[in-house]
């Protein structure tokens, strides 16, 4: 017993040493910026420059901006409300779209890509080599009235007039989100599906389960952690996304929460309001994040 204590202590120290870089990283690049956002959102406005004066001292914090944001969420002046609803609807649709695309792809890569798995994975990751903005700009050109898509549709006689994809259409925005984020969904799902031992599937078949039953009772439950990780990975950044919308629509009729924040940031005196909106968004997203963390901890404990 006396022999194990120093070893435990040493292991404890090692643990601290290994945690330290991550902790410092989080403190510098997460907590400090977050504090800056809080200070800005609770700050005041410079009377001459009308720019925000951050309130660094918590005793100076003012809740005016939060009051403003909350008053705009509901009630007669509640013009933020529809944006919130729109954001949630778009994100849900886009996440569903991602799921529909990503699951079969991940399954194919994990089970059926054989020797070409490396190549297929590389192809899935390939879009990351080009910046998100560039890919969206490419879509703008493809979907333009005289773009390739319209020329193909017109050439095939499917439409008489060009489809105005880029004229503030919710479908374009949602599909843009699906396109932009689907790789983030495929990768964790692939990792989860790849981990399922083929022996388990064979066992299910041996025990009389059909293809569908095998999927429903074996594959699906075992892929849940991957699906959840994928959902969180795409849903959170989508909720704050603004330039998919800016590029593919630029119309207020499809504005999302990210666009609202962006509008506020661009106006000198409204950085505080933007900060308050950011914090509301952070809080709102912390809920699914915590649920995810809890469920993954549980599944770790279970296994």
């Amino acid at each position: 017993m006396s022999g194990t204590a120093p070893r435990d202590r040493r292991r404890g120290l090692l643990g601290v040493a290994l945690t330290l870089p991550g902790a410092v990283w989080l403190a510098v690049f997460f907590l400090v910026p977050l504090y800056v956002v809080v200070s800005i959102s609770t700050g005041t406005v410079d009377p001459v420059f009308r720019s925000v004066v951050p309130a660094w001292n918590p005793r100076d914090w003012s809740g005016d901006q939060f009051g403003y944001v909350l008053s705009r969420l509901t009630g007669p002046d509640g013009f933020f409300g529809p944006v919130m609803v729109r954001t949630v609807v778009y994100v849900l649709l886009a996440v569903a779209g991602c799921l529909a695309v990503a699951y079969p792809v991940a399954w194919f890569v994990a089970r059926h890509s054989g020797r070409r798995r490396g190549l297929v994975l590389a192809l899935i990751v390939a879009p990351f080599w080009i910046s998100y903005m560039m890919r969206m700009l490419a879509w703008v050109n493809l979907l333009a009235d005289d773009g390739l898509v319209n020329r193909l549709l017109g050439g095939a006689g499917l439409v008489a007039d060009p489809v105005t994809f880029l004229s503030g259409r919710p479908t374009t925005v949602v599909l843009g989100l699906v396109y932009g984020y689907v790789p983030y969904m495929i990768l964790p799902m692939y990792a989860a599906l790849d981990r399922i031992s083929p022996a388990l599937l064979e066992a299910a078949r041996d025990l009389g389960a059909g293809r569908f039953e095998t999927f429903r009772r074996v594959v699906l439950p075992m892929s849940v952690p991957g699906v959840l990780a994928g959902l969180v990975l795409v849903a959170l950044p989508m909720t704050g996304d603004y330039f998919t919308n800016d590029l593919l629509s630029a119309s207020p009729s499809t504005a999302m929460l990210g666009n609202l924040i962006n509008t506020s940031v661009a106006n000198p005196s409204q950085a505080g309001q933007a900060g308050a909106l950011v914090l509301v968004l952070v809080l709102a997203m912390a809920v699914p994040m915590l649920l995810y963390v809890r469920s993954s901890v549980r599944s770790d404990l279970a296994s």
Binding site: D46, F243, P268
Partner: protein, 427 residues
Amino acid sequence: MPADRRPEPNPFVRRGPSRRGVLGLAALTGAGLLAGCARERPTSGLTAGSGGSGSPTLTAASPASPVRWPVLEGNAPIGAGLAPEKDATLQLYNYVDYINPDVIKSFEKKYKDTGVKVVVSTFNDTNESLAKIRAGGSPYDIYFPSYDQIGKLATAGLVRPLQHSYIPNITNVWPQFTDPWYDQGWQYTVPYVTYTTGIGWRSDRVNEDIGARANPYDVFWDPQYAGRLAVLDDYREVISMAILRAGGTDINTGDDAVLAKVREDLAAMAKATRPQVTITDYIAIPEGKLDISQAWSGDMIAAQGYLPKGTDASVLRYWFPADGKGMVNNDLMMILSGGKNPVLAHLFLDHLLDDEVAKENFTFVGYQPPLNSLDPSRLVADGYAPQGLAAATVLPSYFESGYRSLELTPAAEGKWQDTWTRFKAGA
């Protein structure tokens, strides 16, 4: 004050496409919040506390009440007749592509014996630029503001009073800008370019003469153009347009009834035509990606450079009220106190006010300098613009008849921002 008072003006003719659009977007990613964190110089000379009651507010200049801005102690103009700085790097702080590189080269050549080198730093909106100037640290010599920023910069002592003996060319500008109301005594600024706000379109894509409508602004509410038009991403411009359309003339109002009507009208517009809100019209109109847009005159002149091969500039159209009762504006040049080369900075201002230099600059940026020698009635004849863009010419008389965006009172400012956010939220 308006964040995007102006797009970063642009390549005029024969330039690569879309550069500004891309740059603009890249800069969207959080410049604002970062600017908010910059260590900003408090507004010195004032009791600018933490916004408590009794804090000073700025006088708002207007043609009816001209303002002579204070000159803070220790911020005197430089002496006359000083020799230009040797081997200096003159730093310009400007919108992207808002100055012709050739006029910079000609300046360097003109003062070759001083060894001067000119570098241009750029900003995307005045929010960003003001924050950076206040933070200090970057010794910019010359800044290109709109006139609603003078008061802020002068009050904070960030701008240097001019020594006019270095700027004889200042007499080349229109009398409307001589000793202007926004800067009595020409203490801080010289004029740079002028522009109007109207409507731009391509005649081969729109089967009507928008300017012939009883109220051309109605086009933004016309459902037949749904999904094909845009308004400027600038709260002053769009709200002012709605006010003018409804028959108003005060585009600096804080009147609740007027702004309530604006909110209603903008909501109706969003519903009827789902307009894009963007400042890329100068590319999108010539390229045919947008059919109609609210537009700055200079951007439509610059649009000539973005037409696809085989499309003639004669298809471009711009409308501005023929009686001059529309929105007019001008941009300025000033010398910042933080700059290290005040003498060269004065000489550069004089250089840009030279007739030939200013015209050369015009052919690049598309925005018209207010020069006596540049006869507005001859811009089309002289090939600066095709006939269809004749209305994009800025006439001196517009600065008597037109409406100008002045600095809003804080109360009105809040209402305008609220109106704008509501519109942008699509609610």
